[in-house]
């Protein structure tokens, strides 16, 4: 089975752990990576891509030193290697202008406000992962246990 990665980015260690904890049910089927800065995430994505691994989902915080989440996600959206990657912005402190940028330039797939509901984050992640797997023609049958069934029904008709 191909390795499919989920990358979580947040400069606060405890927030990052909370996100990963919420996604724990996916851990048997996906590789969950943690990054503490945008730069670390970019480096990791570069590495994973060079190893031929799939990056399905990036969940990023917005307010981080050096480079913000919206900046990071915009760069991902503009990179032809990562055009299929699904993106979630997870933030409590984005301004109105940041939010507009996130939608128009970073083309985020979902906006989630802090403090978030763990179940909701998991559910949205499942939906986005299902979309990624079907659009990439990856084998969905072996991962049925953690995919979102209604999304799958719509996509494979």
């Amino acid at each position: 089975m191909e390795t499919i990665n989920i990358i979580c980015v947040d400069d606060q260690r405890e927030v990052l752990s909370a996100v990963v904890r919420d996604l724990a049910p996916l851990a048997d089927y996906f590789n969950i990576e943690e990054c503490e800065s945008a730069a670390e995430c970019e480096e990791l994505m570069d590495e994973l891509d060079a190893d031929g691994e799939h990056i399905a989902l990036v969940i990023s915080d917005h307010v981080m030193p050096l480079k913000t989440g919206v900046q990071l996600l915009t760069e991902i959206a503009d990179d032809s290697r990562f055009k299929e990657v699904k993106k979630i912005l997870l933030t409590g402190l984005a301004t109105h202008a940041d939010t507009i940028k996130a939608v128009n330039q970073a083309h985020i797939d979902h906006y989630l406000e802090k403090a978030w509901d763990g179940q909701e984050l998991l559910q949205i992640s499942k939906q986005l992962l299902t979309e990624y797997i079907v659009s990439q023609g990856l084998d969905y049958e072996s991962r049925l246990a953690v995919l979102d069934a209604p999304t799958l029904y719509k996509l494979i008709q």
Partner: protein
């Protein structure tokens, strides 16, 4: 270690078979070509059961291995003259399995299904056909099952299931948490899709594989197949509906399915409606117009290509894997038959001593069991060539319908394996909805499988009595 076994067995065991001296085989006058076909057959069986590689890849492997080792243009050392060499296959015949008439029949079916989905004929038909069934859960379930079954006669069982489950999902969400009705509804769809596939030769690949062996005076036309297939589907569907609505009664007394959309009225949509109807009519008419089902199947291919209803991009989405999976089965059958292995192997086992009823029963039960644990098509690929050879050589079978009866029983049995989530893709999809547990699926699937098999025997008996087979 355990995870490597599935890779190890398909390499080791055929390797051992190839290295054994000919005299060790319990078949008289076995040739080298036959020995190689045995090895390929065992490899295919192990690969389809253990699935170290995708099932269609196994099919491609069969074709390429036959070309390399058992063909007239294979590797040099495989062709070295020897008194034991036996009959090598024509490389053209092996390659032709990719474009066998059976494959063309399925290609035609794929074109029809793709065009119907693209122009939303399927969803719109579902909307109209569901209306008369009202809102009482019992009857809504009956309606859903009938429509799913009809669609799966012409579309892939998996695509039909996905479509119907998508329609059903918003309804299931409003059911009370402990309402058993949810289980019934979620199970009704895959059951109906699996059963419905039996109705036509293009409903499911095992049917097409059976057609490959029903030639000459045993020919069954598209219309003839439907003449016994559709009544069979109707009765089994009614039984399934009875079981499901008894085991899982719904507490709610009102169900509202909302399907949005309108029939498209663009010229292209109208071409799709007309071609769809025309193709089915031509199929049903049998030979009156001189064309057989295979030739008719290519009409929609031409019409939809010419009118750009199926574009270059759509063409890439055709399930080539299914076509290749069937091709591999045909190639396997070709190898078994043309090298003479099938006839020799059947002759080596004293089947004549068995009662013909034991043979029919045994083969069908074996097929049903295998189909519960592996792909229906792969099951048919493996069993059909052997069953066909057996049916041909066993004269005691004749009073019971002969080869045709045996082939039909095994074919129907292949579609009846549906007791586990892994049995069929429709089962896996329904199980993923989260409303069904494996035990419930096993209970329903196993009962319908057994009842369906008994009904198959009854049907074949009836067909024999009226002199059809």
């Amino acid at each position: 270690m355990k995870q490597y076994l599935k890779y190890l067995f398909p390499i080791l065991i055929p390797g051992i078979i190839l290295s054994l001296p000919l005299s060790w085989f319990p078949i008289e006058n076995i040739t080298l070509a036959e020995q190689r076909i045995i090895a390929i057959f065992v490899l295919a069986a192990l690969c389809w059961v253990l699935e170290p590689i995708p099932i269609y890849a196994t099919s491609v492997l069969i074709i390429v291995l036959e070309l390399l080792f058992v063909s007239d243009k294979g590797l040099w050392f495989t062709q070295q003259a020897s008194p034991d060499l036996g009959i090598l296959l024509s490389h053209k015949d092996i390659m032709a399995t990719f474009a066998s008439p059976i494959i063309m029949l399925f290609l035609g079916g794929f074109f029809l299904a793709m065009a119907a989905t693209k122009y939303r004929l399927d969803v719109n038909l579902a909307r109209v056909l569901l209306k008369p069934f009202g809102q009482q859960p019992k009857y809504v379930m009956l309606g859903l099952m009938m429509i799913t079954a009809v669609f799966s006669m012409f579309m892939s069982n998996t695509a039909t299931t996905a479509m119907m489950l998508a329609i059903l999902t918003p309804v299931l969400a409003v059911f009370a948490k402990d309402d058993l009705g949810k289980v019934g509804f979620a199970l009704a769809i895959p059951v109906a899709a699996n059963v419905g596939g039996i109705g036509t030769p293009i409903g499911t690949p095992p049917n097409a594989i059976a057609l490959k062996y029903l030639v000459g005076d045993k020919l069954i036309t598209f219309g003839e197949w439907m003449a016994f297939g559709v009544p069979f589907v109707i009765v089994l569907l009614a039984v399934s509906w009875f079981i499901l609505s008894r085991l899982f009664p719904a507490d709610t007394d009102n169900i509202e399915l909302t399907i949005k959309g309108r029939f498209l009225k663009t010229p292209q949509a109208i071409i799709v409606y007309c071609t769809f109807t025309l193709t089915i009519l031509l199929w049903l008419m049998g030979g009156i117009h001189g064309m057989n089902a295979y030739v008719v199947a290519l009409i929609p291919v031409a019409v939809f290509s010419v009118t750009k209803i199926i574009t270059k991009e759509d063409l890439k989405k055709i399930s080539w894997d299914v076509l290749w999976l069937v091709s591999g089965g045909i190639a396997l059958g070709l190898g078994l038959e043309k090298t003479g292995l099938a006839a020799n192997a059947v002759a080596a086992i004293p089947f004549g001593d068995f009662s013909p009823l034991v043979i029919i029963g045994g083969a069908s039960v074996l097929c049903l069991l295998m189909a519960n644990f592996m792909s229906h098509t792969a099951t048919a690929n493996l069993l059909m060539p052997i069953v066909a050879a057996l049916g041909l050589s066993m004269h005691s079978l004749l009073p019971y319908g002969g080869q045709v009866a045996l082939i039909l029983c095994v074919t129907f049995a292949a579609s009846l394996g549906m007791s586990l989530p892994i049995s069929t893709p429709p089962n896996a999809l329904a199980h993923a909805s989260g409303h069904i547990n494996t035990k419930q699926m096993a209970k329903v699937g196993a009962s319908i499988g057994v009842i369906g098999l008994l009904m198959t025997f009854a049907m074949v008996y009836l067909l024999t009595v009226i002199g059809f087979i």
